[in-house]
Subunit: 491 residues, 2 copies
Amino acid sequence: MNAYDNLMEHARQTQALAQIAGRLGWDQETTMPRGAAPQRAEEMAALVAVLHARRTDTQLADWLETVADQPLDDVARAQVRLIRRSYTRASKVPAKLASTLARVTSAAQGIWADARASDDFAAFRPTLENIIALKREEGQALAAGGDVYDAMLNDYEPGTTGADLEAMFGALRPELAALRAAVRDAQAPVALSGMFDETLQMKLARKLAKTFGYDMAHGRVDKAVHPFSSGSGLDVRITTRTNPKDPFNCFYSTIHEVGHAAYEQNINRAYLLTPLGQGVSMGVHESQSRIYENQIGRSRPFTSWLYTQMRDVFGDFGIEDAETFYGVVNRVNDGYIRTEADELQYNLHVLMRFDLERALMSGDLQVGDLEAAWNDRFLADFGFAVDKPSNGVLQDVHWAVGLIGYFPTYSLGNVYAGCLNEALRANVPDLDTQLANGNTTEAMAWLRENLQTHGGLFEPRDVIARASGQVPNEAPLLAYLKAKFSDIYKL
Amino acid sequence: MNAYDNLMEHARQTQALAQIAGRLGWDQETTMPRGAAPQRAEEMAALVAVLHARRTDTQLADWLETVADQPLDDVARAQVRLIRRSYTRASKVPAKLASTLARVTSAAQGIWADARASDDFAAFRPTLENIIALKREEGQALAAGGDVYDAMLNDYEPGTTGADLEAMFGALRPELAALRAAVRDAQAPVALSGMFDETLQMKLARKLAKTFGYDMAHGRVDKAVHPFSSGSGLDVRITTRTNPKDPFNCFYSTIHEVGHAAYEQNINRAYLLTPLGQGVSMGVHESQSRIYENQIGRSRPFTSWLYTQMRDVFGDFGIEDAETFYGVVNRVNDGYIRTEADELQYNLHVLMRFDLERALMSGDLQVGDLEAAWNDRFLADFGFAVDKPSNGVLQDVHWAVGLIGYFPTYSLGNVYAGCLNEALRANVPDLDTQLANGNTTEAMAWLRENLQTHGGLFEPRDVIARASGQVPNEAPLLAYLKAKFSDIYKL
């Protein structure tokens, strides 16, 4: 076999093993017996060790060197680019640091959960200090003299820098804060009340998943504590959750996860189990989940269809008409928690985490000052004070598990979704009529053909630019949010 | 680290990865989306390749050599013995033969299933000829001059030879055939009729699983096409099935699989994820599933309790009293299919497969003559003729997947169960009273402490001998069957 074939066979097996790790993660959250946790930890560690050994296999360096001189087509060149990136990344981090980080962040989850439960940031502080120090060390190894935060970001959003995000988010923040303040002063739509049978919620959630093109022959919907999507290719599973008082949580979590899952299902099957065969970045992934959930799922025409579906399933639930329902779905509520935030406020949550984690990495902010910095920023952006750490600095697991550079991809995904939404509406002029009938077929096909099918073929910013016809920027998202909330809140 | 620690760390990771393979198998039969099969095949192949590489890792040879000169305690010596056996076995088979066998038997499953569906042995014959030739080659590599069939058997029942089985089964066969003939001439108990709600069947099946000591915190019960138990240690899952007309299939499949699963759950936790941390052989495994299912589960006192449970769940189902119910449960029916056979006839099915596969391996029987040999033997032992290949030579998947030497462990398990049952009854004199109250606690504790806890510490025949106080032999099983069926059929 030649060097390229060797690389691809190696990569294929690595991808297959990585898919197994994903399946174990799904199992852990859905079906695993609770007493199996200690054994599962060892199983997972053994598999991670195998994956690490494969990713740092020095045979890769030889094949990569050989293949560098060879003529390759676009697809092969993209495969090699991703294999090279993975190998370079894996071999830059000393094995001892990688295993220390794995051990520390694994233990940190429990410490963080306990600290959150007892609302005691001090109990988590030493652990977080250790993690930040280790992540900085890792970042320095990866950056090799360059910017440490950019190096971390590169794991989740290759081609985007902290400076790019600072510019983008800097433009978003004052506008979002102003819009939020105006909405807070206006008359709010009514809120949903009553109880909604959880079995019926799941039934409608499965219908929504199919409505958004989720392929049940290559996936399944289960309940879990946290909604997530898991897997690539022919086996992409999602979870959702139910709360008798809040059916929207179930429905929009489902649509959101279907956005992630459909992306994975719709990648060109020729890329199955190769480096190209997965969503290209966290930001592009989030653009899919968000455009499904918000620009489509929370649109006036789609909610008018959802209103009739909910009436069919739950009977009269106290909302008099589809227009009122549209306001109910998009109601802006005060809240501390990012994952519960509406479309308008969500990015304010993310922007503060980006600034804080970047300052932690640069050393401008110490972990000892983090809680105060969080609370100050929250008060400035949201207009009310954090009441307890579980509603503030301890609310997210990300830092505890060593995810630095991950948060901003949430907002970047929203920015991308704004760009894609403009192009989608230009290319499918009849979209509103279709959505009012619960028909997403043309929208899904446009996203599939212009973006999802490519998998990792193009760099994240490039695939968004190709699909949307513009360099990714925050203006479309802002314009969309202003128009939508000015309308609903009659600003 | 010293050689022993190196061996154990290596073995621990291998065990952890093997557990993952088991989990994927469970997933495939219970939760996997149907369209995921081609991807799963690649995932499984990648994991099997990792396992094979670990099992033939030449580092093992170095450590095994070093450790051979060192003083070790009993447990460590047993661990090393199993590691050595695994390494020796894996390195005896040429890599090319191993991968050919894997490929051929993987494809053979589909060919066998199609041939069975169209009742066409000729369509399967060339595939089976290929498999038999490859297995003979493998057997010769493993036997290194010794008996080929014994070498195959060693994979499933170390320490037992074809000659041992021939003697044991030779003593069983005429006695079973005579007992069967007598039963056929006698008045049969009534048969069950009516329909039994499948959800209620599953509810009672879960209760039965708990009644037999299955630990739900380290397992779960799901439905699948074929009942099985999967996993070791802290995560041992079982499946069962339901048929509205045949609740006994659900209940006794559940109890049978609980026997397998409880064995795995009850192994000394100090052996978790080590070579000792699994059931020691197929025969000993089957002894547990069979003693749970038959000697306990189909006993007169236990069925009297089950009768009241079924009345509670299903109401009056047309059986007038517990004594009649005991007959119903143990009714001997004519049938072609091994997996549906009762306690009395089951071993006749296994014995014929043992003789046929041994003749295939020795070359005394050609695949071309297999169907005729099967049909002749069936007629001789059962008194009526096979009507079609799906009820005959094509009924079991075992040979198609390359399992040669596996069938006899089913009957060996029954023989072991007979020995264990004698000892159990001697050691728990009050057993019948307990079982009549649905109380298996003392019986389960006796099996756990005398057999299950040891895992792989002793060789199969030794652990049965230690627990039962006698060299494994067929006399107790025969005496038990004769007494039971003479009583029920008033012979």
